[in-house]
């Protein structure tokens, strides 16, 4: 009887701890969001979207940083995702079980979790040093390298989910694999691949470390891809650590914008995936 009670107590203790751990995790998320919203809304104004980053002590906005971030993220995705999608296609359709594919899969998983600052150093060495100066294109390339593993992984997984019968039917009609891939597999896996793209955008749009020594930053409006370009994460970094109240407020507003964007992207990726599963199930 006593032993049974002991087991029950032990059970209760550990299960309570587990509930507490979950509550702590959720509390962290709530605290983070609350701080972001309360500080961010205070710093939010129409100036954010109409004016450039100000010098210390002056008022201003984040227009150049927002533009730079959007530009480099877009370029990064445009360069990175075709490579990721094609490589994923190779792994799923051409070399499914070859030793090379196993190696590529392994390396890709490593790139997926490799520290982004290392990628920044890599691009610094091969682009910035060669060109002799920091530039937006170097920043975009760093982001592209980070986008490749995400899109590769999701593309491969999604292509593998396409029923084999569809592929066989296409082959039976005399289509070559490229035709099957473009006309049958990609349309069938479309929402899955789009999910991968959304996740990749979410991943790279908040990256700071690789931009620090590739795109650097720019106090002014610049659309020149061959010159340093302002971007939201680096501006947040610089402004948050500054002693000026105006800059800190802008940093919080920027942090709120970036977080909401990323959360919206992640949630839509999830919704898309859920719809996909629903479709499959029916």
């Amino acid at each position: 009887m006593n032993r049974r009670l002991l087991r029950k107590i032990k059970n209760g203790v550990f299960l309570t701890l587990s509930v507490l751990a979950t509550l702590t995790g959720l509390a962290c998320l709530a605290a983070l969001l609350w701080t972001l919203v309360s500080h961010g809304v205070a710093g939010m104004s129409s100036r954010i979207f109409t004016q450039m980053t100000p010098p210390p002590g002056a008022q201003g906005g984040l227009l150049n940083a927002l533009y730079g971030s959007a530009m480099m993220t877009l370029l990064g995705i445009l360069i990175g995702s075709p490579i990721g999608v094609l490589a994923g296609t190779y792994l799923a359709e051409y070399g499914r079980n070859s030793r090379l594919s196993t190696a590529i899969r392994f390396i890709n998983d490593i790139l997926l979790s490799a520290p982004s600052i290392i990628i920044g150093l890599f691009i610094y060495e091969i682009v910035v040093v060669r060109m002799g100066h920091f530039s937006a294109i170097a920043g975009a390339l760093a982001l592209a390298v980070l986008a490749i593993p995400v899109t590769l992984r999701t593309t491969e997984d999604m292509l593998k989910l396409v029923p084999i019968g569809m592929k066989d039917s296409s082959a039976a009609l005399g289509a070559y694999p490229w035709r099957t891939t473009l006309s049958v597999l990609y349309p069938a896996a479309r929402s899955g691949i789009v999910t991968g793209l959304l996740l990749a955008i979410a991943r790279i749009s908040g990256e700071t470390a690789p931009l620090l020594f590739t795109a650097l930053n720019n106090q002014f409006w610049s659309t020149n891809l061959d010159a340093p370009m302002a971007n939201l994460p680096v501006v947040i970094f610089q402004f948050a650590l500054s002693p000026y109240k105006d800059w800190q407020d802008l940093a919080w507003a920027g942090a709120l914008i970036i977080t909401l964007t990323i959360l919206a992207l992640s949630i839509s990726a999830r919704v898309l995936l859920a719809l996909l599963q629903l479709e499959r199930g029916s």
């Binding site: 059970n11 550990f14 979950t22 289509a175 035709r179 700071t208 959360l263």
Partner: protein
């Protein structure tokens, strides 16, 4: 689809070759990127490595004025902050995974799971400014004075909690890192728990075991490899994490016996000093730090991936 004529077929074959080689090139590019990362880091680090040789990793000195650089303080900071993070995040992540797989009402399972995963999507710079403006003051005013008063005098471990409560420092960085890697560990461990066949768990319950006993004696042994893999994936992230740490570490190139003192890590040293570094040896030393980080994280992540792959094979063959 129309019947394919021979002329048409030849054209198709050319397209096939083009598409196939494009896909192949893209796949090879992934290998080249990793090779390129290693080669460029070695190339950039070479001046520092050939100048300091082995003393680079054994000396604490970091003096840009006299061009003397040693990586011991950043290595120490990286290892200690990651250890603190794992000590806090592994039990908590395990608890969350347990809650999600065994205790959670089905209705809440998805929302809470998604909440945890969303926490993983928040960029690290956000954790950084949150850590600096919200967490650090709380630690400075409440947690650290308590630690100094109550543990500071204990022999053996007391020296870890001595000195003034700065708010920022090794301990704070470790705590912010813990919050950052928590969702990763929780999500991976939950996925691993989900691979345990329900039959095994039912058998445990059927014998009258409590929930905890089923977890500890059935689920954990069955998914041990996966748990270790998930934990090491979290460790790889903690070791390489840059922005969250840079805000709260204090950036001091020295090794203090107290966890409350400011320190530095490999990634935060690079992030802080790289664009301001003047002189080839200084820049090269920072890239050498990057090379060290690459080697450490590469090893940890590769080991983690190998373990998770082993689990996948086992699950695959069991079905």
């Amino acid at each position: 689809m129309a019947i394919i004529e021979p002329r048409h077929a030849a054209k198709q074959l050319i397209y096939e070759r083009i598409f196939r080689s494009a896909a192949f090139t893209a796949a090879i590019l992934v290998l080249l990127i990793l090779g390129g990362v290693a080669a460029s880091l070695v190339h950039g680090a070479w001046p520092a490595v050939s100048h300091f040789r082995f003393t680079f990793v054994t000396r604490e000195i970091w003096n840009p004025v006299t061009d003397q650089f040693g990586a011991l303080a950043p290595i120490y900071g990286t290892v200690v902050t990651s250890l603190i993070a794992m000590l806090l995040a592994v039990p908590a992540g395990f608890g969350i995974a347990l809650f999600l797989t065994e205790l959670c009402p089905p209705l809440l399972k998805r929302p809470i799971g998604v909440g945890v995963e969303l926490l993983a999507a928040v960029p690290s710079i956000i954790f950084g400014i949150w850590g600096l403006f919200v967490l650090a003051p709380v630690l400075q005013q409440h947690v650290q004075p308590w630690l100094i008063r109550n543990i500071g005098g204990v022999p053996a471990i007391g020296h870890l909690f001595k000195g003034p409560p700065y708010g920022i420092g090794i301990l704070s960085a470790g705590i912010v890192l813990a919050i950052m890697v928590l969702p990763f560990i929780a999500a991976t461990v939950r996925d691993v728990f989900d691979t345990v066949p329900p039959m095994l768990k039912e058998s445990g319950y059927g014998l009258g075991a409590t929930t905890w006993e089923v977890i500890w004696n059935v689920v954990v042994p069955h998914s041990r490899v996966g748990i270790v893999g998930g934990v090491m994936l979290g460790l790889g992230r903690a070791l390489g994490e840059t922005m969250a740490v840079t805000f709260v570490i204090g950036n001091a190139h020295r090794i203090s016996s107290s966890l409350l003192a400011p320190g530095t890590t490999i990634s935060s040293a690079i992030a802080n000093e790289f664009t301001e570094a003047v002189g080839d040896l200084y820049t090269s030393s920072l890239i050498a730090l990057g090379l060290l980080l690459f080697l450490i994280t590469f090893t940890v992540i590769a080991a983690a991936q190998a373990m998770l792959a082993r689990l996948e094979r086992r699950v695959g063959s069991a079905v």
